[in-house]
């Protein structure tokens, strides 16, 4: 994998008010690519899903730290990692099935499905008791005007 042309790291406590902060920060980071509105919105949506999962599931009854890193590569590929040190996922395959949720009545069980639909690639690594890392990869369109 080639070296990133830009990168950032970010962390914050798992309070739900930070869901919009996380989206906003990732948005501000990729804005230098002069992204298409739809592509930017897709990435924001996927980040929102992954961060919400860390807050709602990873740190279910506690407040922990959510870690985000993002990289931009020369070919306008963006890779965002969302990591928690929460409860982890025992059966990742099952967790990724659409409509599967342990979150109760108000969760749709669609977080992973949305990430997969709105990004080019989604990788999940997790260990019970150790936490979860979700890696989102999205290819952005090259714009003439980008810097």
């Amino acid at each position: 994998m080639k070296q990133a042309v830009n990168k950032m790291e970010l962390n914050f406590p798992s309070r739900s008010v930070n869901e919009s902060f996380a989206r906003g920060a990732v948005s501000a980071f990729v804005l230098g690519l002069d992204p298409l509105v739809t592509e930017l919105n897709d990435l924001k949506t996927a980040v929102s899903e992954a961060v919400t999962n860390a807050i709602v599931h990873g740190y279910r009854d506690t407040i922990g730290t959510v870690y985000i890193s993002a990289k931009i590569f020369a070919d306008n590929r963006v890779v965002v990692k969302v990591r928690d040190r929460g409860c982890g996922i025992a059966d990742i395959e099952k967790a990724m099935e659409p409509l599967y949720t342990t979150g109760g009545e108000e969760r749709a069980g669609l977080g992973f499905a949305v990430m997969q639909s709105f990004c080019d690639r989604v990788r999940v690594s997790s260990a019970p008791g150790r936490g979860t890392t979700v890696t989102l990869t999205k290819q952005f369109t090259a714009r003439e005007n980008g810097e």
């Binding site: 739900s16 869901e19 919009s20 989206r23 929102s48 108000e106 969760r107 749709a108 499905a113």
Partner: protein
């Protein structure tokens, strides 16, 4: 996030404004349900025309309201979905549980 509720002929309309994520949905749900439980509307219309961003928490919000109003045989109607939100709605298959209203009529009829 900002919520405005209108009541008219057994139809309760909740007009949502702002980004709809898990944080916002938690707050909206309480406010919508407080009124809905009292009014028991025949139709609960959720108007998303003021929602620029929504993740799957928005789908959870819709599904939860479908469940609530079914207690008195009400139904949920969803209107004002932007193309982005419509994509989310289609992915979720909620169309079979809540009626997704097309905005065409409004657009064509001036």
């Amino acid at each position: 996030m900002n919520l405005q509720i209108e009541l008219k002929n057994g139809v309760m309309t909740a007009v949502l404004r702002g980004d709809l994520d898990h944080h916002a949905a938690d707050r909206l749900r309480e406010q919508i349900d407080d009124t809905a439980r009292k009014v028991k509307p025949r139709v609960l219309r959720l108007d998303f025309s003021g929602v620029p961003f929504m993740d799957s928490s928005g789908i959870g919000l819709i599904l939860g309201r479908v469940r609530l109003v079914s207690l008195w045989n009400g139904r949920v109607a969803v209107s004002g979905l932007s193309p982005q939100l419509r994509r989310m709605a289609e992915l979720s298959g909620i169309a079979s549980l809540a009626s997704l209203e097309e905005e065409e009529k409004e657009a064509v009829g001036k």
